[in-house]
Symmetry: C2
Subunit: 422 residues, 2 copies
Amino acid sequence: MEELKKRVCRWIESQEQSAVTLLQQVVQERSIQGEEASAQAIILEKCRQLGLAIDLWEPSKKLMESHPHFFTVRNHFKNSPNIVALLKGCGNGKSIILNGHIDVVPEGDLEQWEHDPYKAEIEDGKVYGRGTTDMKGGNIAMLMAIEAIKENDIKLKGDIIFQSVIEEESGGAGTLAAILRGYKADGAIIPEPTNMKIFTKQQGSMWFRLKVKGKAAHGGTKYEGVSAIEKSITVIEQLKQLEKIRNDRIKDPLYKNTPIPIPINVGKISGGTWPSSVADLVILEGRCGIAPNEDILEAKKEVEKFLNTLGETDGWFKENPVDLEWFGARWLPNEMSSDHELVTLLKKEYKALQGEEAVIEASPWGTDGGLLSKAGGVPTVVFGPGETKVAHFPNEYIEIKKMIDTAKIMACLLIEWCGAVD
Amino acid sequence: MEELKKRVCRWIESQEQSAVTLLQQVVQERSIQGEEASAQAIILEKCRQLGLAIDLWEPSKKLMESHPHFFTVRNHFKNSPNIVALLKGCGNGKSIILNGHIDVVPEGDLEQWEHDPYKAEIEDGKVYGRGTTDMKGGNIAMLMAIEAIKENDIKLKGDIIFQSVIEEESGGAGTLAAILRGYKADGAIIPEPTNMKIFTKQQGSMWFRLKVKGKAAHGGTKYEGVSAIEKSITVIEQLKQLEKIRNDRIKDPLYKNTPIPIPINVGKISGGTWPSSVADLVILEGRCGIAPNEDILEAKKEVEKFLNTLGETDGWFKENPVDLEWFGARWLPNEMSSDHELVTLLKKEYKALQGEEAVIEASPWGTDGGLLSKAGGVPTVVFGPGETKVAHFPNEYIEIKKMIDTAKIMACLLIEWCGAVD
């Protein structure tokens, strides 16, 4: 087994140039929401070359829309195909899903980019461009790992189910579609940008919109009205108290260095229409973090209930309760035990190849891992070569060495997890 | 003298129908900002019929723009003429300015009007329409008073300077233009809607815009940022303290029943661009009331200074001071001593005709009286037939009886103030 691992690692090292070329090709396709097809075409062709059994389909909104965890702003997924590519095992081994998203967030202000976000230029061992870190570099690492196994004639017992999905950045409809299509496995890895740390837990989140009411009046006689701006201060203070209560409950040592493991962030405020008038409406929009082990519906109920107590200390809210709406995207949290065999193996392979202990952490953001584990029942760990700090930012890049190292760790892990036929 | 007064009052009563017709004509012209000319044409023709010496001109932005109290959003005043019409006295009498604005605020949502805002329909002794109360009814009362004097062959010693000005609703450029054209008098009356109370003082106001800075971060790690929304709460609390300090100073018995004589109202708030991000900028817009005896520049300085102390309790503001901008319209405050002869006479004539004591009050809003007194040096009192509560609102109206009663009181006052030749 150790001999096999050495062989695949050597092979992966030798293929660095072709891996980088593949990454560049896929980064050069601007696969923002709704425009994923040309990038998927490159992935598809690679899967075909690898001889994988390919399932290519456009997710159906109709099939998903009754699912409690479905969210999208789209009317349809036409021209936005999902890909699942199967390397069938010989049997009697554990199966694994390798899941990565092909969609990227828009590049934003071009002025802030030092490299063209879609040229995939190389400098100092890094490939620059939108989606390099989040998460096309991770996807290429997975494909390299699979290719190494194929090219070195290693027969695995368990199945490898490679998934290149759409929509992760916008609510996860791509992964949900794969779950509902029936893809399951004994475990899953998502190579989102963790900087090669092992993220066994992810904070989930959901967006809320609050309508805080007031009573209009002329500013010169403001005492005749009730300012929705002042009332919204009360609401924000109440949310702060709730944040404290929710975070005080978290005893997980993984969060011991995190000031606020699951923050409630009011990110947007707008209200009032005229400087000389008392505002009669303020709208607050924000994000409520969800703990890895928390049920999203329970979390919603807790927020709702806590906001309803506003009327106990301020009669205004009794007569004029705050309107609460859950809107926009939400990301399910995810947790996997650090004792799970997939994590144990990942740690082992990491140490063997990197020469040091892997760092286990919890992420402050969600991934499709929440869907895989909570909706799909597949224990999921997040481990990838990109860096959180450049995801969604200008000058996004990936270090080529980390992509290669991740591919090696993954290939070794696959051999251990799925089991190799002697 | 008393005989003269009785005569003019009888005459005014007999002219109710023609006064109402004139009011209807002028209300039927929609004299919103920039479209005052057709309403002014009606006023002009009336002044011509009365044999007054007419000065008709379009205010010059150039002549005004260096004036510290000039404000406009307009590029020019073409087709927006001011009218000043003089009834020259024989000499040795006190002069008076009778000032009213011809501009009206837009009618707003038509759905909320029960009468067409520009038909000037009569129902139950009221004329309905935009501008009836604010303040065309008051203007017609002034013209009736002048007409009564002319038609009854009364020769006054002092001059009557009738002014029909533009732009009161948008910063007072019309009245400022008249001041800069040299019109002065020993006193002035503005028949803004006081419901026939005597407003010797008016709250002034000025608009401010505050930019409160934060530091952006992802909502999931909000502790890495600084929320401009939370910082704006601190700023709002600071403004509340300042409001208390400013209002605690006011000992004027006229304000004894007013909870907050000169409020600071934050009427608009907006900030943040994304629910999941920590907001790095919040913009607050509001109105700061100015006391009748206060200097507007001193008030500005006080606000500025107080906001600068934010850094003493919160280091963030030391590094990131709040940006303060005075923008948009401002209305100068006004005060006139209750012992001033113009007020004494007005009270006397009010009591003689209404059979009860006049109510003296301070208004929570400014008028062109601030400009007349502070920029023009003319002691000004506000007294008119309209009702504050319907000004700027749908279903604005004026009671015909109050317009007629006001005309009578004004005519008697003019006889007393300017002095009649035997």
